[in-house]
Symmetry: C2
């Protein structure tokens, strides 16, 4: 029995944030973190993100606030939502393995708990400094063609598996889309 779940995420998604918070409470399952560019994936599958429909956007804000209240997750809607998450997600790829966990925690919290404006380089630099990540090296590395290609490859790989949104859980090669479906992915592992 495979006790692993693949977790496809983009820091830009509030539902990915909620899913992330929920999976960090689970200690008997290994989650493989699969960074993707959600905007890129949406283009590949021809889906308009809820962020770009005013009715869905308004609902998403209310919905996330309700879910977080029910799940006791500290949450603040980011006043700069949506932003381009390209640099954040490329950043996840270029930092050393041992820092990836703290990087996610830092940037997910900055964006979805502390209303940090992540379009400002100075804010990103400050967060990187807290993580003892050299920001000059970071900024140089995220601009490299190989980094751009890597994130594209990861996003394309998700697309090939017929993943069309985030968060998505994959358990036993089965796709479970949405933070609401974490329980279903966990159920799948019990089979």
């Amino acid at each position: 029995m495979n006790k692993n779940i693949d977790f496809y995420f983009d820091i830009i998604s509030p539902y990915a944030f909620i899913a992330y918070k929920n999976i960090t409470k689970i200690d008997n399952i290994e989650f493989n973190f699969k960074p993707i560019l959600l905007g890129g994936l949406h283009n590949l599958v021809n889906i308009t993100a809820p962020a770009f429909n005013k009715f869905k956007l308004k609902n998403m804000k209310n919905d996330c606030e309700l879910i977080c209240k029910k799940n006791k997750i500290n949450f603040t809607w980011n006043s700069k939502f949506p932003i381009n998450s390209l640099y954040l997600m490329r950043g996840y790829l270029v930092i050393e393995e041992s820092k990836k966990k703290d990087y996610l925690e830092t940037f997910f919290n900055a964006y979805w708990q502390n209303d940090v404006d992540l379009t400002l380089e100075k804010n990103i630099i400050k967060l990187l400094e807290n993580l003892s990540i050299n920001h000059e090296e970071f900024l140089k590395n995220i601009s490299k063609q190989e980094t751009k290609d890597k994130l594209k490859t990861f996003t394309n790989e998700a697309f090939k598996k017929e993943i069309f949104g985030a968060p998505t859980f994959v358990a036993n090669n089965k796709i479970f889309w949405g933070q609401d479906r974490l329980d279903y992915a966990l159920d799948e592992l019990k089979k």
Copy 2:
């Protein structure tokens, strides 16, 4: 305290079917049934239904089957999905009040449990006969301009409340979208 929940639905939606089955198990809350034409509402809010995106469609089928299994709801994906639900929803408006409950039960079950092809008039006629509804009168009434206008008005009224999908629950004037959010609507009434 208002112990009422408005339930916006279209028989075409498998998630509306699931929500319908779940609310029929609740007996201490009054649900006001609000028929809408989901396709018409989607046009008003500029949303492409998941039925028209192959990735979302495939996921919806799997997802509904999983939810129904977990909720012990008898469910079969309709092999003629999607169809135009105009006649079914107009039909709900033209039948007498005392038959609306059985009409919904019959047509929801026919479409989402028994894989009935509801594009065939003979199948609709048979179901109406089971309900002792005169099908000639039914067919005449659903073609009337006032019936067409009535369904449009109901759909427009949902739109004016910023409802953008189905099922939607409205409790204390707050919108809860999706069968997953029934609990949230019930929580709202406890406030």
